[in-house]
């Protein structure tokens, strides 16, 4: 059992690392009250997935995927360029999400004067109770 586990972990440590990061990110997203921390958690979660993708393309004795004769002659193989292509796209998507999220947080801060989620919800509820109708 222990041998199996160590073999499994040592041969796929890339995957275990990304599991760990994913769980850290996921925890931050749900458990943290601060909106900025939530966004940080989301970024960690996304980055963990990116790491998983990139590690799918790794080849032992692999070199950067740029055509060069001498590297091949020395016995190196190219790493898989496809995950790089996909992740370049996905990173941009993550950047875009983060930008929108940050601008939302700025607006929320202007509106309610706080970036704690519970306080914002409390403020909304108080406003609804005052006006006896939804605060829109």
């Amino acid at each position: 059992m222990v041998e199996w586990l160590t073999a499994e972990i040592s041969s796929k440590y890339n995957y275990w690392v990304s599991i760990l990061l994913m769980l850290i990110g996921f925890y931050a997203i749900i458990a943290k009250d601060n909106l900025i921390k939530k966004i940080i958690g989301l970024s960690i979660f996304q980055t963990a997935i990116f790491l998983f993708y990139i590690s799918l393309g790794v080849v032992r004795k692999g070199t950067a995927p740029i055509v060069s004769e001498e590297m091949i002659l020395k016995g190196y193989a190219y790493v898989n360029p496809l995950p790089h292509v996909l992740i370049l796209t996905a990173i941009v998507v993550a950047v875009a999400t983060t930008a929108v999220a940050l601008s939302l947080i700025i607006r929320l801060y202007e509106e309610y004067g706080t970036i704690e989620e519970t306080e914002i919800i409390g403020a909304i509820k108080r406003k609804e109770a005052d006006q006896d109708r939804p605060a829109f």
Binding site: W16, V58, V59, R60, L82, T89, A96, A99, S103, I106
Partner: protein
């Protein structure tokens, strides 16, 4: 607040459980023959007399039928892989004007008395022919801008969307 913590714990355990459950079947790190890098296994057949046919460059009937059943493109000829003893590269005929030549598509490996049929991952073709076809030595760039150029168009649209979103949310006293 206590309920919230319990939900957090349950969700974490669920995610962790699924991810650990998967770990066994994930390909090894750095394996040069992993499906994503080299080839993916389709099925295997009894070798029988087909080895001779393969050596002569023909595709045996059994393999064609098996491929047809599984809706795969049909091959035209086989060729011995350089540097391997009992392996053959199988080509598919040209079907489209953009491919003046035929394409390396399958690989047959003999192990014991069985023929194992593999299909090359499409990255193999990028690595082998990308430079010739697109004239860009950096595979990531020619993959990004040419083979999967539509994705990159989408990516550019995403960043543009983010820019306009921030304009909508934050910019005041502007004409936009």
């Amino acid at each position: 607040m206590k309920g919230h913590k319990a939900i957090t714990l349950i969700l974490m355990i669920l995610l962790c459980g699924v991810l650990v459950y998967v770990a066994e079947d994930i390909p090894d790190f750095g394996d040069p023959k992993a499906p994503a890098i080299k080839y993916v296994k389709l099925f295997h057949l009894e070798a029988g007399a087909s080895e001779n046919a393969l050596n002569q460059g023909r595709i045996p009937e059994t393999i064609s039928i098996a491929l047809k059943e599984r809706k795969f493109p049909l091959p035209s000829r086989a060729e011995k892989t350089p540097g391997a003893e009992n392996d053959w590269d199988v080509f598919i005929p040209k079907e489209e004007a953009y491919y003046p030549k035929e394409e390396k598509f399958y690989r047959i490996k003999k192990e014991g008395e069985r023929l194992h049929l593999y299909r090359y991952a499409f990255v193999v073709r990028w690595i082998e022919k990308g430079f010739k076809e697109t004239g860009a030595p950096n595979m990531v760039t020619h993959g990004l801008a040419d083979y999967r150029g539509y994705d990159t168009l989408g990516e550019t649209v995403v960043i543009f969307t983010a820019g306009v979103s921030v304009i909508l949310l934050l910019r005041r006293r502007s004409r936009l």
